[in-house]
Structure formats: C-alpha cells, structure tokens
C-alpha cells in the first residue's frame, strides 16, 4: 500500500540528502527522506570532514565561488544545527595547509591556486610557503616537506556528528526519515508525480523528488532521463588512537578529530564499487603522515577503510531539474560536507523555487553531452 504522498521526497539519507531536506523543511515544504540500508555504500560515514576552499574550482569559477560562499556560511550553519539538534558538530576554521613532499605536485598545485585566486581575489586569502619557511613556522615538521600553501578560510568538522545532527534536525522540523528503503525503481505517474519501489518491493508515492542518492544515482538518474553519469573514486583513510597533544596545524591530508584521533587520507583510485582498503595505499598514507609529522611514528593506527567519492564526469556538482519530468531533481557532488550550508540554503530555495532562489545554471547537466543508454 503506498504511503501518503508528501510534497517532496528525497531519495538518499546521507549528508547531501539531509542537508537538502533541512533546507526544504525551512521553506515550509513537507519532506520525506528515504534512506537506504545500513550496508549500502555511504560516503557520509566514511569521509574526511574537511570544510575546504583552497584548490576548489581552479578551472571552474562558479564552483570556486559556490565553495567560497559555503565556507563563509558554515559557522551560522553549525549554530543552526546545534540549536536544532543539541549536537555540537565541532566546526573549526583555523585555516588549513596543503602540504607537499613532492616538488612536482607542489608546482602543479601552485598553478591551480593561482587560477583559483583569479576568480576569488582577496577572498582566497592564501599564502605560499617553501619547505624551509614551513619548518621555521613548525620546527617539528619533517625534512621531506618541500612546500605548503595556507588558506586562512579552511577548516573541518566532525562528519559523523554532522550526520547525526542533520538526522535529528530534520526529524525535529517534522521531516520523516524512513530507513531500509533502498529505491531501485522510479516511475513517473500520469499526474506528474512519481512511484518509487524499494529493494523489498515496498512502494512509495511522491509529488516531487530530489535524487540525492550518491552512487545510487548510477542506476536511478537514467530512469528519469538525466544525462549525468556518476562514478566511484576510492579514497583510503586511516584513524589512529587518540592523543592528548594537539597537532600543530590542520592539513587536507592529516587532521586531528575532536575526540583526539589523527585521521589521514587523500588517496585516489578507481576500484569500482569496492570500498575496501589496500596495503599499498594505507602504507603510502602512513608514510606521508610520518614524513610530515615524524613525531607520529609510534602512534598506532586503529582502523583503515575505503570510502567511495561520488564523481560526475568533470568532478563538479550537478544540480539539475529534469526536462521530461519537472518534478524530479538531481543533486550530486563529492564535497557534501563543505557544501552542506549551500545545500540547506540556496540549493533548497532553488528546488522550492522561492522568490530569492539563486541562479544555478552553471551546475546544470546541460554541460555534459547526452549519451544514449545502451
């Protein structure tokens, strides 16, 4: 028996889906979130928790500006979440470093940063440091570091607390979250709505849907005629035992979580949908960590894992309304933590078509060629 139709049904209960849900609830919509199974691929439970600007959108000005807005809005967003959920998501924006142990990678990044600076101007607020300058600033730094860049606007949150806070906030604002509803089929109905079927055969009706299913969009987006294709990019991560002394600084590959453990990440590999971890990449991460901070040598790793980033063909977000079925929206990106304030703010307004909705044409999927499904 179909459940009662609500105004908007969001497919996907990760950070992206819940952020959009929170925003739509604030515009006054009724929202149902269909969340998948515990064992589904979940980037929201395996990510690194950065709220990061530097390097983003060096060749895509709209994305650089979009990220810059999100980073500005994060503090207010964190306060809102605390008010709504009583959970502190531990946002810190002390500024962050990109640290390099390979000269060629450093040089490449400097070009990207320069491009990004052309778009953002003073809003980037970045600084370039040689290895020697870095060691002068942080005497404990390893000798292999060849250079670094610093952006005063970079930061991080506790991504697991964020996920929990979003769930609680959505529920308290009257949103309904349904678990174990992994949607496998979406069929437009003659009345302009949609009929959704989950893995167990349960059916849901929806007037308007927002597809925030992460890698689930691989199977679902084509069913609605979207041309966006997503693929998985595996990142491997390590977390260590908790330590009492603070790390000297935050970087995009090594950060200390608020509970005290050191999280290390940043690998990229194409491994299909395998979210396991490998000796090769975890050893490389460990090597990177001790090259940057030799004093971490004896700190023990408690856990390593793989997590799958959700990548569009050009790697940038896609916010699209279906031309065939105007009640269907597609939202997909790989930086759901950084962009969360935008997803709960301007993006939700765009979906709800409020009077102050932003123009998000730059993120439409018309930038991709239409590929015939085979």
């Amino acid at each position: 028996m179909p459940l009662q139709s609500t105004e908007t049904t969001i497919i996907g209960g990760g950070v992206v889906g819940l952020s959009v849900a929170l925003g739509l609830l604030q515009t006054g919509q009724q929202v149902t979130v269909l969340d998948g199974a515990d064992s589904d691929l979940r980037a929201s439970q395996g990510n690194f928790g950065l709220v990061w600007l530097q390097g983003k959108g060096s060749n895509y000005p709209a994305y650089a500006r979009w990220t810059s807005e999100a980073v500005s809005d994060w503090a207010d967003f964190a306060d809102l979440l605390t008010d709504l959920s009583d959970i502190d998501v531990h946002l810190e924006q002390p500024g962050g470093y990109e640290v390099f142990t390979e000269q060629s990678e450093f040089d490449e990044f400097l070009v990207e940063l320069e491009n990004q600076g052309k778009t953002l101007g003073k809003n980037l607020d970045a600084e370039i440091l040689t290895g020697a300058a870095m060691r002068h600033r942080f005497p404990e730094l390893g000798s292999k570091v060849v250079g670094a860049t610093f952006c005063s606007r970079d930061g991080h949150v506790n991504p697991l607390k964020l996920l929990r806070a979003l769930r609680i906030a959505v529920t308290r604002l009257g949103g309904q979250i349904i678990s174990n509803a992994t949607i496998t089929n979406i069929t437009p109905t003659p009345s302009g709505g949609f009929s959704l079927i989950d893995r167990s055969g349960q059916t849901f009706g929806a007037e308007q849907i927002v597809l925030c299913a992460g890698l689930g969009a691989m199977a679902l987006a084509p069913q609605l005629g979207f041309r966006t294709r997503v693929r998985a990019q595996r990142g491997e991560l390590l977390i260590t035992e908790k330590i009492g002394s603070p790390l000297p600084f935050l970087s995009s590959t090594i950060r200390q979580v608020d509970e005290g453990g050191i999280q290390i990440g940043g690998t990229k590999a194409d491994a299909g949908l395998d979210d396991g971890d490998t000796l090769e990449f975890t050893a490389r991460l460990a090597q990177h960590a001790v090259e940057v901070f030799p004093q971490l040598e004896k700190t023990r790793i408690l856990r390593s894992w793989g997590a799958l980033r959700i990548m569009s063909d050009d790697g940038y977000p896609v916010y699209a309304q279906s031309s065939d079925h105007p009640g269907a929206f597609l939202v997909t990106c790989h930086s759901g933590i950084t962009l969360a304030p935008n997803h709960a703010g301007p993006l939700a307004k765009w979906i709800a078509n409020t009077s102050d909705a932003p123009n998000l044409e730059a993120f439409d999927e018309s930038r991709f060629p239409f590929l015939q499904t085979v």
Binding site: G244, S245, Q295, K298
Partner: protein, 106 residues
Amino acid sequence: MKVVSRFYRLSDAGTRTVTLTVDGTPITAQERDSLAAALLAHSAKASRRTTRLDTPRTAYCMMGVCFDCLVEVDGHANVQACMTQVREGMVVRLQSGLPEMRGRND
C-alpha cells in the same frame, strides 16, 4: 577489609625475579610475568584512568583483546601490559587521560 592485592602468589621456588619501576616506585615481579600480571600481583588499585569519564580500570581479559591494561612503558604510551613481558629496569607509568604524542618522558 583492605585489599592490597586481589591475588595470592603461589610460592614458586627457583623462579627468578626482576625489578621494574611503576610511577617511580620499584616493584618486584617474576621473570615470566606479563606486565599486567606483575601490576595485579603488586596492587589492587587502578592501573589506568579512562579518557572520557575518568574512571579507574585494571587489566581485564589478560589475552590481548580488551585494551583495558594500557600503560606507558619506557616512554611509549598505550602499551598492552598483558601482551608485554616484564624486563629488568622497565620504566612503567600509569596513564590518566589521553597520552601525549610521544609519551611523557620525551
């Protein structure tokens, strides 16, 4: 009732002993003891205070599973005492809260 140790040591003639220090105090252990056994034989008191709620703990499973027996050994924090054999001159410090990056001796 005052509990000094929660264990009796069965007299075991011919077993050699070693001396280690625990928070600066010398204690004697049997050569074949794990560090956790030596600590339990020596005292009924906590060998660690936890990081979140600051509650007392001692070695629990004695087989490397539970990680409740963590102590600082020769400057290295979070060593499993039940998986560590005692050595002459071993310097042991009991942990309270989170350890510093390289142990408190460095």
